[in-house]
């Protein structure tokens, strides 16, 4: 059944590519929206023993449909246990027990810093975004971080108006010097490709490109002069089994919630 197919959307390959990065047995702190879709797809395909933790309190959630909010009842009913939100942040995240923090973002910069706070000046915002949520501490305390968001020049900017959550700060060893424990964002997965930090400069570099996408498209969708890896790899196309699992999951979700899966992101 694992025959390749080209019949997939840009969002689907983004989700599948993000999902593939999650190894089985990983303890994953999951943001709602795209990260949650990718993490649950991993759980339903190659990583049945991935442990999903949501900031609302469920530990080891195994939802049958995708949660629309971070506190859906299905998360609680399928979890190994549900603890209070303070405990999630204190004992489990700050306690150093999270392998992967899986985050969305409104904007990222060339050093994988994240903005979810404000566009324009903080005191006179052009666009007021939802704010930090759990991201600042997930970004700093998870052992590594995956970021998933759609590619656009507005989302991928050279310099953020506001750093909500730290990536590599000004690049190089700035993150380490700031005393941030986790390794930081090791992959940014978009609908066009995969960016990973340069080992030394920590500048996000295009190291993976989805089939059918051109380097020029990615450059045009990036707000800085994007470096392209000399070793650029084309993303493996999703196999039919994985695509079917993803579509089944989304169909179940739509049927259960009486609506298409909201990809707007957000917590609440």
């Amino acid at each position: 059944m694992s025959t390749a197919t080209m019949d997939f959307t840009a969002t689907e390959i983004m989700t599948v590519a993000a999902s593939r990065l999650l190894k089985d047995g990983t303890v994953c702190f999951v943001g709602i929206g795209l990260p949650s879709t990718a993490a649950n797809l991993a759980r339903l395909t190659h990583a049945p023993d991935v442990v999903l933790i949501y900031e609302s309190g469920p530990i080891g959630a195994k939802p049958t449909v995708l949660p629309l909010s971070i506190g859906d009842g299905d998360l609680a009913l399928t979890a190994d246990t549900v603890v209070g939100t303070p405990e999630i942040f204190r004992y489990w995240l700050q306690g150093g027990r999270i392998d992967v923090g899986f985050l969305g973002a409104a904007q990222v910069d060339r050093f994988a810093n994240i903005n979810t706070t404000v566009i324009g000046p903080y005191d006179a915002p052009k666009v007021r975004l939802p704010g930090a949520g759990g991201a600042p501490e997930i970004a700093s305390q998870a052992k590594e971080v995956f970021i998933v968001l759609k590619h656009s020049p507005k989302a991928f900017v050279a310099k953020l108006p506001f750093v909500t959550s730290a990536g590599y700060l000004d690049g190089g060893d700035a993150r380490t010097r700031a005393g941030i424990p986790g390794a930081g964002p090791t992959a940014v997965i978009t609908d066009l490709g995969i960016l990973t930090p340069d080992p030394v400069s920590k500048e996000l570099t295009l190291t993976g490109i989805h089939p059918g996408v051109t380097v020029e498209q990615v450059k045009a969708a990036t707000g800085w002069d994007l470096k392209i890896s000399p070793d650029l790899k084309t993303t493996e196309v999703p196999d039919a089994e994985t695509l079917t699992a993803l579509r089944d999951l989304q169909a179940r979700t739509a049927a259960a919630h009486g609506t298409a899966q909201g990809q707007a992101g957000g917590e609440g």
């Binding site: 609302s56 209070g84 939100t85 303070p86 999630i88 930090a132 759990g134 501490e137 305390q141 957000g266």
Partner: protein, 290 residues
């Protein structure tokens, strides 16, 4: 000691103009009915506290109840922006809204510190973030043993905390279960507290080590079946995702917002009446009262 009382009386006697008020609930058990009652009674100048201000705070802010918001994530979960919150922050309508902004970890720890009667919360947090640049209430202290630098933020200690829970017994002991969020801490951090509940029962039948708030630690317990709508109460109702989507166009303009609030909140007597009117105006919503 908890008095079992109608919500209207609890809000009238316990929520005062200028108070610091926390309505908590993490997607689950959000006390919408109590928020409506605060709007109906026209409270002004409140400092609102909430990790995840969503629809109920959008409504309270848009109706002019709030002077300040302390929060860590403000949005319509799964849908997008809170238009009334943005209008207040971006345009100062209906009045300017001061904001004090944290991360979830910061807020959660601030509630724990409040419940623990500590003046500040200690956490590893905010490192590399610009939040400390815009929030003077994020400071740093040194560990007296290791010299490590740790974040410190003031405790949250509301005048009143309001939550919704599944049930209370006739003495006013409250049981909640499922997604617990920060509700217990928010109640114990506050001077006064109001708990709306789905039902009053003879026996809580609480499992061992359940989240029970004893009557003597609460101010008022108010039976309001379905009082979390469009949020939900596990075991009693489901989240009405359609209402969250429907809110977006309603809140987008000041005029549609005001008209909707007048018809559904100001001109209704109580939450049951709100549910009745909503069933007329939005028949596609899951508005049937439990």
């Amino acid at each position: 000691m908890a008095k079992i009382t109608p919500l209207r009386e609890a809000v009238a006697s316990l929520v005062r103009d200028g108070d610091t008020v926390a309505l908590e609930g993490f997607t689950h058990l959000i006390p919408h009915a109590a928020g409506h009652e605060i709007i109906r009674q026209g409270r002004r100048g409140l400092t609102l506290v909430r990790m995840t201000p969503d629809l109920i705070y959008d409504q309270m802010i848009g109706m002019g109840c709030a002077a300040k918001l302390i929060f860590s994530w403000g949005g319509n979960p799964g849908v997008g922006s809170l238009h009334r919150f943005r209008d207040a922050v971006e345009q100062g309508w209906p009045q300017p809204l001061a904001i004090e902004e944290h991360s979830h970890a910061g807020m959660a720890n601030a509630y724990v510190a409040g419940a623990s009667n500590l003046p500040f919360a200690l956490l590893r947090g905010y490192t590399g973030s610009d939040l400390p640049k815009v929030n003077p209430n994020i400071r740093f202290v040194e560990c007296p043993f290791t010299g490590e630098k740790l974040a410190a933020i003031p405790s949250v200690r509301p005048d009143v905390t309001v939550i919704h829970a599944q049930k209370a017994d006739r003495r006013g002991n409250v049981l909640l279960w499922g997604i617990l969020g920060v509700q217990k801490e928010a109640v114990l951090a506050a001077k006064r507290s109001i708990v709306t509940v789905e039902e009053i029962v003879d026996d809580l039948e609480a499992p061992p080590n359940a989240c029970v708030l004893p009557a003597w630690a609460l101010s008022a317990v108010c039976p309001v079946p379905g009082g979390a709508y469009p949020s939900y109460a596990q075991g009693y109702s489901e989240r009405d995702n359609r209402f969250y989507k429907a809110w977006d166009p309603i809140a987008r303009s000041r005029e549609t917002f005001q008209a909707w609030m007048r018809r559904h909140v100001l001109d209704t007597d109580d939450f049951a009446d709100f549910r009745r009117v909503l069933a007329e105006s939005m028949p596609q919503s899951m508005t049937e009262v439990a």
